[in-house]
């Protein structure tokens, strides 16, 4: 229990978090590549071509993990929002604002790869499919959260407002998703969603899971980088940032000597 409390306070304090994150970054990068490379190789090269869709289905190895991540990131933000509002932990707010562009990017990648997948399959760059439409709405929600945060000058207030909006969003997301799915059934007719999970063969499943894991590490990597950057930016006038700059300068001077 003591260890947990110790780490809770460490992660909650910028002074601890910044160097800790810095040390973790090379490791996370390594893990990311460790899963990405075999995943890509198996997905793009060795996995068998789909008997229905041919080679173009391979875009699934980017599309599906990206879509999963866009939702996972949001739920992570929602948890951080609870921590930020209930326990008033500032680092949780930094985590949220750092995650928003990442989640939005995943949503955008899912949408673009969805379009690239759809074109050879159905001849259309866009279909109002339930999943794609939900993904688009999620992208707008991300952009709204970002816009709200940026509209406030005082970052303390911005963080609180952003946390509230994130939580409102997380309650609404299931409602939005199911209403879009329902709406989609009205127009379904003959359109079969290309994005339905087929009973998936193990040779296709493994690269998919590898890519999904790789993307999780990618999120963690970019998150750590962004949190460090946001911390420095927000605390630019504070003592701990000045000390880091001084230490870096001393290091450079020693290297030149």
């Amino acid at each position: 229990m003591n260890i947990i409390i110790k780490w809770y306070y460490r992660l909650g304090a910028p002074l601890w978090f910044y160097p800790l994150a810095g040390k973790l970054i090379p490791w996370v990068t390594a893990l990311f590549l460790l899963f990405l490379i075999p995943g890509l190789y198996m997905g793009l090269v060795t996995a068998p071509a789909d008997y229905q869709q041919g080679e173009s289905f391979r875009i699934m190895y980017v599309h599906v993990p990206a879509a999963w991540m866009s939702m996972l990131v949001y739920f992570a933000m929602a948890i951080a929002a609870v921590v930020a509002l209930v326990w008033r932990v500032r680092m949780a707010e930094i985590m949220i604002i750092s995650s928003v562009p990442i989640g939005a990017s995943f949503a955008l990648i899912a949408l673009l790869t969805g379009a690239f997948w759809g074109k050879p399959m159905w001849g259309a760059w866009w279909v109002w499919d339930a999943r794609l439409t939900s993904e688009l709405i999620l992208l707008f929600i991300y952009l709204g959260i970002l816009a709200l945060y940026n509209a406030f000058e005082d970052k303390k207030t911005a963080g609180k407002a952003m946390s509230i909006l994130t939580l409102v969003g997380v309650v609404n997301l299931p409602i939005i998703h199911y209403s879009v799915v329902w709406w989609n059934t009205l127009h379904q007719a003959a359109t079969v969603t290309a994005f339905d999970k087929p009973s998936i063969h193990i040779d296709m499943l493994i690269p998919l899971l590898l890519m999904a894991t790789a993307f999780k590490f990618l999120f963690l990597l970019v998150l750590l980088l962004k949190m460090r950057a946001n911390l420095i930016e927000q605390d630019i006038h504070s003592g701990w940032v000045k000390k880091i700059i001084q230490d870096k300068q001393k290091l450079e001077e020693n290297n030149h000597v």
């Binding site: 000058e153 005082d154 630019i236 006038h237 504070s238």
Partner: protein, 205 residues
Amino acid sequence: MLFSAHKLSCIRSHKTLFQDVSFELSPGQLLLVEGKNGAGKTSLLKLLSGLRRPDSGEVKWNQVNILQAESDFRTYLAWLGHQNPLKEDQSALENLTMLGHIRPRNQVSMIEALKTLQLGHVKHKFVKTFSAGMKRRLSLASLLIAETPLWILDEPQAALDKTGITLFETLAEQHLKQGGMIVMTSHHSVNIAPKYIQTLTLGHD
């Protein structure tokens, strides 16, 4: 009843406005917060009324942190900020009625309160016809009908003429004599017996 602050600090836009601010206020006392413009007087008052959380330190009412006491503290508080919480399209009496509902009510009649602030003759006139001084006096009238021992007032004398200022000082002294407490900021001096007054100065530099 005791209103106290312990080592309050406030940071806005990366600047520390003030830190280590403490005081104790008992019934019959007035805390006058002084300081230059921008020294953080309004921010301090917002911390004291619970509108804003302090960056460190506590505000206590009867030894209980006001942020935990919530309603138990707020029933005793009347706050007046820079603005006049009045609706222009309503009359003085209508506005006073609404303000009388927001705070706990005492026995003083609204007409009486208006007359004390020399607004008896305009009780049915719309606030949009009022001068700045009249609006401020109407806001002050709302204090008279409230059963709230603690008054936290930000520049209560703003826009008041000499008569208005004297009126305010009379009301304040009466409130203190009845065992009330006042925390206020002011650019003017307050002409009340010094025995009532504690001074707190922000921003020594």
